[in-house]
Structures are given as C-alpha cells and as structure tokens.
Amino acid sequence: MTGPVGIAKGTGMLGTLIRWAVGAGIAGGAAFWVLTDPVTAPASATEGIVADPARGEVVFWAGGCASCHAAPEATGEAKLVLAGGRALETPFGTFRAPNISADPEAGIGAWTDHQFLNAMRHGVSPEGAFYYPAFPYTSYAKMTVEDVVSLRAFLATLPADATPSQPHDLALPFRLRRGVGLWNLMYLSSTWAVDAPDLTEVEAQGRYLAEALGHCGECHTPRDAFGGPVAARHLAGGPNPSGEGTIPGITPATLTWTEAEIAGYLMTGFTPEFDSAGGHMADVVQNLARLAPGDRDAIAAYLKRVPPVAP
C-alpha cells in the first residue's frame, strides 16, 4: 500500500494538513453550492395573471428585446424575427444573444409563463442554469409579473425561427455558469436605483420605463471589476466596456438638455444641436420612437430626478 492510500492514512503532520485542507475544500465547495443555488419564483407566481398582448408590445419596444435578439442590421418586419445573433463584446468574452422566437425547439415557444418569469426576473433558465448578466435580467427583475406575462403573450404572436442559438465565447473561469450565482448575490436586486420617496406619478412611470424595462443603466452606469454596476454612480457614464471611447453620463450633472429636448431626442435621435444618435443609441431611439409620447416625456422627467454625479 503506497501513494494516495498511505497519505490518506495520514499518520504525520502532513497527513493532518492534507485532511484539513480537503475538509476545508469540501466545506467551501458545499458553501459555494448552497450560496449559488438558483433562486426562482414560486410556481404560483404567474397563476391568475391575465396577459395583455397589446401591453406586451409596449413592453417589447421599451425593453429593447429586438435590439439584441433580432439579427444585427435587421430592419422593418425582420426586427420581429427573434432568432438571436447580436454579439456583445465584454472584458469577460463575447456573449451572443440566443433565439427567443416562438420556435418550440430553437426558441422559447414551449416555455410556460412561470419559466419565462424565472428567466426574466431571476436570470434562471427552465433547466435551472444561470444566464449571464449580459442579458439584463438585473433590470427586468423590477418588472411587474403582469408585464412579464403580457410580454410573453406578445412574443408568442411573432414568427418562429428554427436557427439554433450561437454559443458564447468566454474566457475559462467565466464558462462556469454556477459562479453567476455569487454575482447575483452581490448585484441582483429589485430595489430602485432612484429611491426618492417624493417622485411624482410621471417620474415613477419614467423610472419604471428606464430602470425596469429600458435598462439604461446597463450601458450608462459604470461597472466594477466584477462587471457589476457601481450603485453610487447610477447613470454617471464611464469607459465603454465593449470597445473604444466612453459612454456619456446622463445624470443632470452631464445631461443639461430640457425635458422637451430629451423627449424629442428619444423620438427622433436629434440632439438640440441637430447631431443625431449613433451606434447602439440609434437602436434605442428606434425602439423608444414606438412608445406613446407620454412615455418618452416620463423618461425625461425621471432623468431630471437622477442624483447628479459628475462623470
């Protein structure tokens, strides 16, 4: 009897150390496993919720689903074919938006409302695996169950497409999805970023559109070393994690346009100086242009209530 068995007998100090290390490793692993157990909604969460597909379409455009899940460069009707495709380059690797069309195999056509709720608000797939927060479930966590179910009803009316989802291309440690559970413990929250008690009804409407649906903060709030949003710098702007240049701050410290100018920009893409939005923001404008004017006005009113933080 030699080798591992001899060590396992552990008569000396080395053996004690190894047993201690193995024990600590198992305990640590167990703690990791418990901490990263996916949190999901109770099965009853979607019971009795009545879907409104018309409201679902508003949620669809406000949430910007097509910007990532339609083929890049899609225009017109093609924007409604949600076969996936947009590549998001990040310091952790390249994420590719999956097929969320009504196809029962390649897409989400076979999902229940409850499974869809878990994906949208908890970032957990029907198989119980974590999604990566490149998918902004961290924002959608603030959505009402009614809006989630209504969105699903609208998505079910869109074309099915059998194109399989493309895999992500990530650096090794980030391929272990279980680790996202720890990230969620640190960053997944349904608390409003702008939590002032005296928001008007319109400002609160804008907050819901901006924080829960429009997920402005996913780009406009800077991220820390773990890729989590820096709460104290909500919408303050910062370096572009997907490439060159910076993402502008949109707190009142930077964005000095009037509410009417902001609302106009969100509809036409024109700044007060008649430059026009480019890159991803042009996508955002195309989506927000489909909302009712009052919704864009509400977003503008909300932005004026964001605590000013210099970039």
Binding site: G245, S276, G278, H280, Q286
Partner: protein, 152 residues
C-alpha cells in the same frame, strides 16, 4: 545684435503661419475635417426645419424650402474622398472602419438620405404637418447610417 529681435519675430510669425499649413497637408485629418464640416452644414439647416417641426420657430414655407433644398444638395455631394483608408476608427472620429468593408451598403444609406431630403423639399412647401412627417423620415435616414457606421 539689435537685428536679432526682428529676425526672431519674423521666425515666430513664420511658425504661426506654417502650423495650420502643416495640418492641412495631413490627408487623414483633412478628410475628418471635411466630414465634420459637412455634418455641421447638415446640422445648421436641420436647425431651421427641425425648429419649425418642433414648434420652436414659426413655420415659413419659403424659409423651410431653402433649408430643405440645402439638405438635399448636401445629400447629393460625392463623399468618396471623405472616407479614406486610415481615417476611420481612430482618435478624434466616431466613424467606424466597417464603412470601407461594406461600401455598397454605405452608399445605399446615403441614397436613403437623398430620398428623404427630396421628400422634405416637397413637404416644406406644403404645410407644417407635412414637414413634421418628412422630418421623421429624415431622422430615420440619419439614424440608419449612424447606427451602423458610427460608434455612438
């Protein structure tokens, strides 16, 4: 020794004159400068029709038509010399290198601008409601090119 001061002054004057000349001889910076100047001319004329569409300026068909005609002229200028190798994806410009990889699509988007600007000319001579409708299409034409070919 009394001659040195005027000579130095002359040299300094030469340097001041020479600097802008040197800058103008950089074809990359020239191209970027030309693009920005062109976009500034768009913005200036958009300010007229856009201001009317937003209700900030009173609608005046003659004034709106002149601005719209300028926009149409700008849309029809050949921009080949603006988008040259080495002038994209660098400091000081938001234009993306992919412009030179998909020139046909880039030109198709400029054609979209020509169409939208021509429609704006017709609308500007009609009434405010027509102008407002045509401004939406024109904004879409600006946005479709900026979405694909500008970093932000």
């Amino acid at each position: 020794m009394r001659h040195i001061r005027p000579i130095l002054a002359a040299l300094a004057a030469c340097a001041v004159v020479a600097l802008p000349v040197a800058a103008q001889q950089d074809p990359i910076q020239n191209a970027i400068g030309a693009r920005k100047a062109h976009m500034q001319l768009y913005a200036h004329n958009l300010g007229v029709v856009g201001g009317m569409a937003q209700g900030a300026i009173a609608f005046d068909a003659a004034v709106a038509t002149r601005a719209a005609q300028n926009l149409e002229r700008l849309a029809n200028i050949d921009e080949t010399s603006y988008w040259i190798e080495g002038s994209l994806g660098i400091e000081g410009t938001k234009a993306l290198p992919v412009i030179l990889e998909t020139p046909d699509d880039f030109l198709a988007k400029q054609d979209g601008m020509k169409t939208a600007a021509a429609a704006l000319v017709a609308a500007a001579g009609t009434d405010l409601a027509a102008l407002q409708g045509a401004m939406g299409a024109l904004g879409g034409a600006c946005g479709s090119c900026h979405q694909a070919y500008r970093s932000r």
